[in-house]
């Protein structure tokens, strides 16, 4: 497998405060990688650096061999680096179908056409229906998003991301805020992601991480302190210290 996405020596300073230090990681086609870390580890900053919302002080981001460090957020999305949001960012007055259709139209470069009917593109609507069906959202596809359950909104976030046909998908806590009864459906959706897609999941829920990811990296205080198999994470001394602080010493 070849490296599809690569972050090397990424650093970010805010007025002398180092919030990300020398982060390097690589993602191969079809890989499932999870990034975990305690609160304040710099996960949000890392996501913003990768998606292009903020510029790094140093380091590089590469996608499919191309250096995309200088590109803005929109350009990165267009090259196939797609994200979901930790807190759903959907349009409450639109339907799930409209969200996905808009996404598909954008993929075809037709999202901002004036001389067309939004609901008149049957190819886009068929494709949207298909995507919504795989995520079990068919029943609610023409209800306003404001009226559907939060778990379904999270699934819609994934549907939108899939409709973008990404090469690399950044899942920002895909199960955050979902009632535990609904998490199996999210997990199911994650299991059905296209096999060739490279996925980087940022997550708190360790059970989900263990089931989903083949490899885990741990971020603490803006630095990567661990890369390895999920089974090894809990045994790593540095990780224990980062998470448990002084308890780690007291306990061991």
């Amino acid at each position: 497998m070849s490296t599809l996405f690569e972050v090397s020596n990424l650093s970010k300073e805010f007025g002398g405060l180092q919030v990300s230090r020398d982060i390097s990681l690589a993602l191969a086609e079809g890989e499932r990688l999870a990034l975990i870390g305690p609160n304040g580890a710099g996960k949000t900053t890392f996501v913003n650096l990768v998606t292009g919302r903020i510029r790094p002080s140093a380091g590089q981001v590469r996608l499919g061999g191309e250096d995309i460090t200088a590109l803005g957020a929109v350009q990165r999305v267009r090259r196939g680096l797609v994200r979901t949001f930790q807190v759903t960012r959907l349009f409450p007055d639109m339907t799930p179908e409209e969200h996905v259709v808009m996404t598909i139209l954008q993929r075809h470069g037709r999202a901002t056409r004036i001389f067309a009917r939004f609901h008149g593109d049957s190819a886009a609507r068929d494709e949207a229906a298909e995507i919504l069906a795989t995520l079990g959202l068919t029943e609610v596809s023409s209800r306003k998003v404001a009226t559907i359950a939060y778990g379904q909104q999270r699934l819609l976030e994934i549907a939108i991301a899939l409709a973008q046909r990404p090469k690399v998908l950044l899942l920002d806590e895909p199960a955050a805020g979902v009632p535990s009864a609904d998490t199996p459906r999210i997990e199911e959706a994650l299991a059905q992601l296209p096999p060739s897609l490279a996925v980087l999941m940022i997550e708190h829920d360790m059970d989900l991480v263990f089931r989903f990811a083949k490899r885990v990296v741990v971020l603490a205080a803006g630095e990567l302190i661990f890369q390895g198999l999920p089974a090894e994470v809990a045994r790593d001394a540095k990780v224990r210290e980062a998470y448990l602080g002084s308890y780690a010493h007291a306990g061991s």
């Binding site: 998606t51 957020a73 929109v74 999305v77 267009r78 797609v82 994200r83 949001f85 960012r89 959907l90 349009f91 409450p92 007055d93 639109m94 409209e98 808009m102 996404t103 139209l105 954008q106 993929r107 037709r110 999202a111 901002t112 056409r113 004036i114 001389f115 067309a116 009917r117 939004f118 609901h119 008149g120 593109d121 049957s122 609507r125 939108i160 973008q164």
Partner: protein
């Protein structure tokens, strides 16, 4: 309901088409009723139509893109002056004058958008004001072209279709304006339901989500500014043709602020509100301001405060809500 028996796809389409045709018919009917009831006030009614175009254009920016503007008069006035100047230089065909107004408004819309989109929030609002004031001063100063503070006058547009004169009675101007309004309204209903219109709604709601879809906000909003400019420009050109004068008041902060008040009064974000707000505001102004201009100001002020406190979605939004409550209770009663 019949909708349930139709195939999934066509029912909503037919419903929106039906709604649109009904809406257009209502506008035409209201226009004809205005003609029948106030045949001696056609000049005023034409002005209402012209301002309605201005308020519609403002709804595109405020209601569909979420950008507050107190400078829409810049686009309206540009259209008015462009049509007026063209008419004085021998272009007298009314349809052509409307097109000239639209084109000039669209160009000014592009310029205005390019400047305003550099800022957000309050500075953006201030930019909109600064632009209309700048144009006001420029129009005042360039008196050799614009007539300065005296304004432009003496335009003689050619008869409509070579037959109907733009005379003192104002009948041609009124029906010309009404037809223009209906056409523009139909076009705008189409545009706000295009993919472009949906993206604009999305941008108003959450620009970050739109950019995460890979859509760049700036060109989309700029396009909307151009469309808005074209609509406002047509309104200005209509005023120039109908009144055969163009004054500095057409490119002023006052007309811009009034347009915003009318829009909010009617309700932002669904085009109908723009029309309702314009008609109510201008009718009241016509009556009350004639009695005492200061009473008029107090009234408008009180109405604005009341809207913000009690009916933030404007009259049409409140009506919508009332209608929904009514139909719901009827539905319940029917069960």
């Amino acid at each position: 309901m019949t909708g349930a028996t139709l195939p999934h796809d066509t029912a909503p389409r037919l419903r929106t088409l039906g709604q649109d045709l009904l809406g257009l018919a209502l506008i035409a009917l209201a226009g004809l009723a205005g003609y029948a009831l106030f045949p001696d006030n056609l000049a005023f009614l034409t002005r209402v139509v012209s301002v309605a175009l201005l308020v519609l254009s403002l709804d595109l920016i405020v209601g569909y893109c979420g950008i507050a503007s107190l400078g829409q008069g810049a686009l309206y006035g540009t259209g008015a002056y462009a049509a007026g100047i063209a008419c004085l230089h021998g272009v007298t065909e009314p349809f052509l004058l409307i097109l000239i107004g639209a084109a000039a408004g669209a160009v000014m819309g592009l310029l205005m958008g390019a400047v305003m989109l550099r800022a957000h929030g309050l500075p953006q609002l201030v930019l909109s004001i600064a632009i209309v004031q700048l144009l006001h001063e420029a129009a005042n100063k360039a008196s050799s072209i614009t007539g300065g503070s005296d304004g432009l006058s003496g335009m003689v547009p050619a008869p409509l279709f070579g037959v109907f004169e733009f005379d003192l009675w104002g009948r041609s101007a009124y029906f010309f304006g009404l037809a223009l309004l209906i056409l523009v309204f139909a076009a705008l209903r189409f545009i706000v339901r295009s993919p472009f219109g949906m993206v604009c709604r999305g941008l108003k709601e959450d620009p970050l989500r739109i950019s995460a879809l890979g859509i760049r906000a700036f060109p989309v909003l700029l396009k909307m500014f151009a469309i808005s400019g074209a609509v406002a420009g047509m309104g200005g050109a209509l005023a120039a043709i109908a009144t055969q004068v163009v004054g500095l008041d057409s490119v002023s902060f006052e007309i811009s602020a009034n347009a915003l008040v009318m829009l909010v009064l009617g309700g932002i974000g669904h085009l109908y509100g723009a029309l309702i707000g314009t008609v109510i505001f201008m009718a009241l102004e016509h009556v009350v301001a004639a009695i005492n201009p200061f009473h008029w100001m107090t009234l408008v002020g009180a109405v604005l405060i009341a809207i913000v406190l009690f009916a933030p979605r404007g009259l049409s939004g409140t009506l919508d809500e009332a209608a929904r409550l009514l139909t719901r209770s009827r539905w319940r009663a029917g069960r």
